[in-house]
Symmetry: C2
């Protein structure tokens, strides 16, 4: 499948039966039509005017697709770890495979004290539970208490050098089940960047890769999920963004399963392309002990967001997840000082005054 496409092989609306070739859309279709015949995947259309809703959430197809998601996530974890290890050139990821007493398990991979990476983790988990925890059902009260299945890859990288930003990415798949009712599934994910010393070129690159990953799914996707990222990674009690954003989405089931799955693959696959060039450009920038201290204070904000607001962290802790895997996201060395602030007019003050401001990086770059 060519990179950048969304897997359009042959296309037919499963509802109206019309076949289409290539990525041509028939008159009256407001969205792409997808069909991958022959590999067992049933593919539905999005927004075919003849069908307002096409359900493909039925029967054995569900478990088959869960397996496909799982296979993708395990492979994604492998590829990301390999790319980061190669770049670091010193430390290796150490793997801990674990099982969860209440159901499921995971494959945690952690890197520490590398040449570039001070602490980071790329975790795969697949957990089951009898009742969806409040952090996952807060926005969907109708699902409270349903049995659930959750799969995901989640990563956080904390480099030593304050000139190399911290990065986070996550792709996840949820299924909420109840006897006698159709399972409800959704995807979530995204990636976001947290610099300590902002560089416009890096912010633009990061957002450009995000936009390109979204483009095949509609021109409105990047702006919507970019805005959601700004809203989500907001430290309310500081009235301050956690970083310079990127993409965030959750509760994604407005598209059919295969479009959604193709979308999270596009996001997952884009991470290395978004992050690595920034690491390569900044890893050799010299830094002072004062700049390192600044990074440690800023890391305090990262901890505040993750422990007070982050839905993934709270979901993990509330659902009896593996604490060490969940909290691998916390930075290695952190400072808090009373009413700590950067010197007015300093490069450090510019971080919050200019970079952490929910900017439209691509529009400002004239893209």
């Amino acid at each position: 499948m060519p990179k950048g496409s969304i897997g359009l092989l042959r296309s037919r609306c499963v509802n109206c039966g019309i076949r289409h070739a290539g990525d041509m859309l028939p008159p009256g279709f407001r969205s792409r039509v997808l069909l991958c015949e022959g590999d067992g995947l049933i593919v539905a259309i999005a927004q075919c005017p003849l069908a307002t809703h096409v359900s493909v959430n039925s029967g054995t197809a569900m478990s088959f697709r869960t397996d496909a998601v799982k296979a993708y996530l395990l492979d994604l974890q492998d590829r990301i770890c390999a790319a980061l290890e190669t770049e670091d050139g010193s430390a290796c990821f150490v793997e801990d495979a674990w099982e969860r007493p209440a159901g499921g398990g995971g494959r945690t991979r952690v890197i520490e004290n590398g040449h570039i990476l001070e602490k980071g983790g790329v975790n795969f988990s697949h957990v089951f539970g009898a009742g969806l925890p409040p952090s996952a059902s807060a926005h969907r009260p109708e699902l409270a208490g349903r049995g659930f299945e959750a799969l995901g890859v989640s990563l956080v990288m904390h480099p030593h050098n304050p000139h190399v930003p911290t990065a986070h990415a996550n792709v996840r798949f949820f299924i909420a089940e109840k006897e006698g009712e159709e399972p409800v599934w959704w995807f979530g994910g995204g990636f976001d960047l947290t610099p300590y010393y902002g560089v416009e070129e890096d912010c633009i690159h990061w957002h450009r890769v995000a936009e390109q990953a979204c483009a095949p799914f509609g021109a409105d996707v990047y702006p919507r999920y970019k805005a959601w990222c700004d809203r989500y990674f907001h430290i309310k009690h500081r009235n301050e963004p956690r970083g310079v954003g990127g993409l965030f989405f959750d509760d994604l089931n407005e598209w059919d399963f295969d479009t959604s799955f193709a979308f999270i693959r596009a996001i997952g696959d884009a991470f290395v392309e978004a992050y690595l060039p920034i690491v390569q450009r900044r890893k050799d920038t010299p830094y002072t002990p004062q700049q390192r201290e600044f990074q440690e204070f800023r890391r305090g904000r990262y901890v505040e967001f993750n422990l007070v607001y982050d839905r993934g962290t709270l979901f993990g802790l509330q659902s009896g997840g593996r604490t060490e895997s969940i909290l691998m996201s916390l930075p290695p060395q952190v400072r808090w000082g009373y009413d700590w602030k950067a010197e007015p007019g300093s490069e450090e003050a510019r971080l919050t005054e200019y970079f952490l401001q929910d900017r439209d990086w691509l529009a400002e770059a004239g893209e």
Copy 2:
């Protein structure tokens, strides 16, 4: 008023009208009878068999008592800061008076980089709000959305030396109001100790002072609030206590207002007596960089508890409190490591294996 008494001047049941002198209880009374005449305080009885409930929550008496609580809290803040400053001998508390846009304000006092105290704060706050936040009404759904008034003193001390424990204390007064209904008030508070290198003598001393402060209010008070402290300061996702406990209570309105107020005064006043002798005994113990590092990792647990579970922190952040005053509780330098554990058999391992175990320190000491 003699130390250790609960302010028994002359006593008369406001319901049955019987007068009593000294601290004699009339036959049939299962609890103390309190009355402070002449200073405007109306005092009710607790558990007089002639009256199952005596309400004194009415009219102007309420606001007058709020003033009395406020005056006590401001004085308590002064006394604690003076005692700690004298002991530290180097740094001074710096005061920030602040107002809260939504109503109320406070007096934050912070000490940093002292001889003994690396970072600490003793904060007074008095805030008002239109709707009680979820952290305060979670256990009292009938009060959700009521207007509220909250007064308190809250302190946390993080010493440099890992042999000196971190200490926390808090006393607070809440009033939830609704037009046309009686205001509902309650007190909360307590103090608890978080050592890095445990010493039995210190744990016993800490709990002995706690028990003595509770004793005039009934023999069951210390064991109940000691147990509540163990339950409350529990880091669920680690299945580990935050420290060696002390006292914790909340929703205290089972006694009349004056008994309750006398009780929180006893707790507030006991803090310095509980903490200072421990600081004095341990402040000169030499320590290694490794012991300091251990302290920084353990401080990570403190952050986890405060940001994920602590009702006071969440109440403050949810009610639009002053972030810097609320988060002064966070330690100055903190570490996290993936799956970080103390060496088996080490002094460090003994902290969790022996000290952080919800022990009955006084019973073990034969007291």
